[in-house]
């Protein structure tokens, strides 16, 4: 099964490569687009946002006992294999509070959709961004507050123009951070349908690739090249705006882009980027009544290249994770083997790469997308798991702000040190294709 899927995945990826690829938002300067406003032409308050309504269907099969694990169900609720959802519904306001003074600008955004940001908190609204940028020092803009942390292009880009319905498996598991619970929380076993016990063992919102802190950044133009840097320090506590320990996260980011032309999110260019994030997380992983959390290192890093020149786009990223490896929302212990000695998640490593290509079909409103991802989780561990996913997609642009996205993800997951059907494979063997349709409207 795995071999056939791998071959299919590789064939589709190669076919897309051979045929040319994508369009869309690949080589934009997200540091500046998200953190600053156009000088002396920013509004006092620009209201904006977007809505994403979707339908997803998962064709995975349950284990021998008819039990399901989260990858076989549709998030964030993990209660069904097919559902409509308002995945994202965000509204925000940004601008310069005193338009005469372009040295100060702000950015505010809140989430009303049903996803990992809102669902753990009961499905209500949640502030995702609230920041103020000071542009007084040339070469060192200062952004303060809650906002996206510079990192992997896949999650750092403005999500409203993300070319797929779902993140890569690596991004969904290791970059969209699950903040550890305050107290020890046991893993949740596979559940039969209808779900009796929630398969999400985490109490807080996902980190959403955001943090509260201070960032120093800027961009420098040199001919057709644009070089950007960012240094940030934050709480390392996701969307929680206060810290839960004295450890701070540090975030480093660099990009150099050859700009071909255009502006904003759809600017054409070829961008090279590298980044790293490091911090510590408190995790109480001893099954007793004592609150005795331990601080574990959490490091993430990556590098990649993004290219956009109509009608083609392409992106490649290689990412590494060291520590606090999330092995599923049902495993708040960060441990795939809670029966054994604890520690394979919190001290483990993971790595992944993906190639994403696209082609905007000339003379039409259609865009064709293809993505191939290989992700190794808990490398070297007995429970090392390989995720190979090929996604084929198409997008139809009704206008510049509205599009329909069609995705079909072919997933193959295997615990490589176990035989088929044995150990973790009893659960992951059945992970199969996921199909989705999503309507996005930006306003």
């Amino acid at each position: 099964m795995k071999t056939v899927l791998n071959k299919t995945a590789k064939f589709v990826a190669c076919a897309l490569l051979a045929g040319g690829m994508v369009q869309s938002a690949q080589a934009a300067n997200w540091l500046m687009l998200q953190g600053t406003e156009p000088t002396d032409s920013a509004p006092r308050a620009k209201v904006w946002g977007f809505i994403q309504a979707q339908y997803q269907s998962d064709s995975s099969t349950p284990n021998a006992g008819q039990g399901y694990i989260p990858p076989k169900l549709i998030g964030p609720d993990f209660t069904t294999q097919e559902t409509f959802n308002i995945n994202r519904a965000r509204i925000g306001v940004r601008g310069a509070g005193m338009p005469l003074d372009s040295k100060v600008n702000y950015f505010f955004l809140a989430e009303f959709g049903n996803n990992g940001i809102t669902a753990p908190d009961g499905g209500s609204a949640k502030i995702t961004d609230a920041s103020i940028t000071l542009n007084h020092i040339k070469g060192a803009k200062v952004r303060v507050g809650l906002f996206k942390t510079p990192g992997s292009e896949e999650v750092y880009q403005g999500i409203m123009i993300f070319d797929y319905v779902n993140f890569t498996n690596y991004a969904a598991q290791q970059l969209i951070e699950r903040v550890p619970n305050q107290n020890y929380t046991a893993n949740i076993s596979p559940q039969t349908l209808p779900i009796g016990t929630s398969l999400n063992g985490f109490e807080d919102s996902v980190g959403a690739a955001r943090d509260t802190g201070v960032q120093v950044f800027d961009t420098f133009k040199m001919g057709n090249w644009e070089h950007s840097y960012s240094v940030m320090m934050g709480n390392g506590n996701g969307l929680n705006t206060t810290d839960n320990d004295s450890n701070k996260d540090t975030y480093l980011y660099w990009s150099s882009e050859l700009v071909y032309g255009g502006q904003g999110a759809r600017r054409e260019g070829m961008k090279f980027f590298a980044w790293s994030q490091s911090g510590k997380r408190l995790l109480d992983n001893t099954n007793d009544s004592t609150h005795n959390p331990v601080a574990y290192d959490r490091k993430r890093s990556g590098a990649g290249v993004a290219y956009l020149k109509m009608p083609f786009r392409a992106r490649f990223e290689y990412n590494k994770a060291d520590g606090m490896i999330m092995v599923g929302p049902q495993s708040a212990t960060f441990d795939m083997n809670p029966a054994g000695a604890p520690g394979n998640g919190e001290n483990g490593t993971a790595s992944a790469y993906y190639l994403d290509v696209g082609y905007y079909v000339p003379g039409t409103n259609w865009e064709i997308d293809g993505r191939y991802e290989v992700y190794n989780r808990l490398e070297g561990d007995q429970f090392e798991t390989e995720w190979v996913t090929t996604t084929i997609g198409a997008q139809y642009h009704l206008n510049k702000k509205t599009r329909v996205s069609f995705n079909h993800e072919m997933r193959d997951v295997e615990a490589i040190k176990f035989a088929t059907g044995a150990g973790p494979n009893a659960q992951v063997d059945g992970i199969d294709a996921r199909t989705s349709v999503q309507l996005t409207h930006i306003f």
């Binding site: 000088t39 002396d40 032409s41 509004p43 006092r44 338009p99 005469l100 372009s102």
Partner: protein, 147 residues
């Protein structure tokens, strides 16, 4: 005799330089079409729009046959701030003979609010009052357009 020639040459050069520097802000007396564009709106989209209109006029009539002056006052004066994100477009239009006038009254009022005088685009010429400048130009036969 030679000294006289040198002096004459120097004077001639100075006169030519002076003429060129004046021409950047001088009306095109022989233009067929004369338009004054008003920007007094805080909406940043109006900044783009007024520059687009000026550009379209130049493209349609030709640089030598249309005389365009953009008068900025009130909240619209931000267009003529030195670091405005449209400064490259302003420079390009100025190169095509478009004149930019900044209202001194607005500059004074903004200076009070900011605590310092805003630096203006080098292509902008200050006029005592933006609205008076528009009235005077209309009297001279300019068509007023407020995009």
């Amino acid at each position: 005799m030679k000294l006289l020639h040198v002096k004459q040459m120097l004077l001639l050069c100075m006169a030519v330089v002076a003429m060129f520097s004046m021409s950047a802000h001088a009306a095109k007396d022989f233009a067929d079409v004369k338009v004054v564009l008003q920007i007094s709106d805080p909406n940043p989209m109006k900044q783009t729009l007024v520059l687009n209109v000026a550009n379209n006029l130049i493209k349609h009539y030709g640089q030598d046959r249309v005389d365009v002056e953009i008068v900025a006052f009130g909240p619209g004066l931000r267009l003529l701030f030195a670091e405005n994100s449209n400064k490259d477009r302003i420079s390009s239009l100025a190169g095509n003979g478009v004149r930019f006038s900044a209202c001194s009254n607005t500059v004074k009022a903004m200076s009070k609010k900011l605590g310092y005088a805003p630096e203006l685009n080098s292509n902008a010429k200050t006029v005592p009052a933006g609205v008076v400048q528009i009235v005077d130009l209309v009297k001279k036969g300019y068509t007023l357009v407020k995009p």
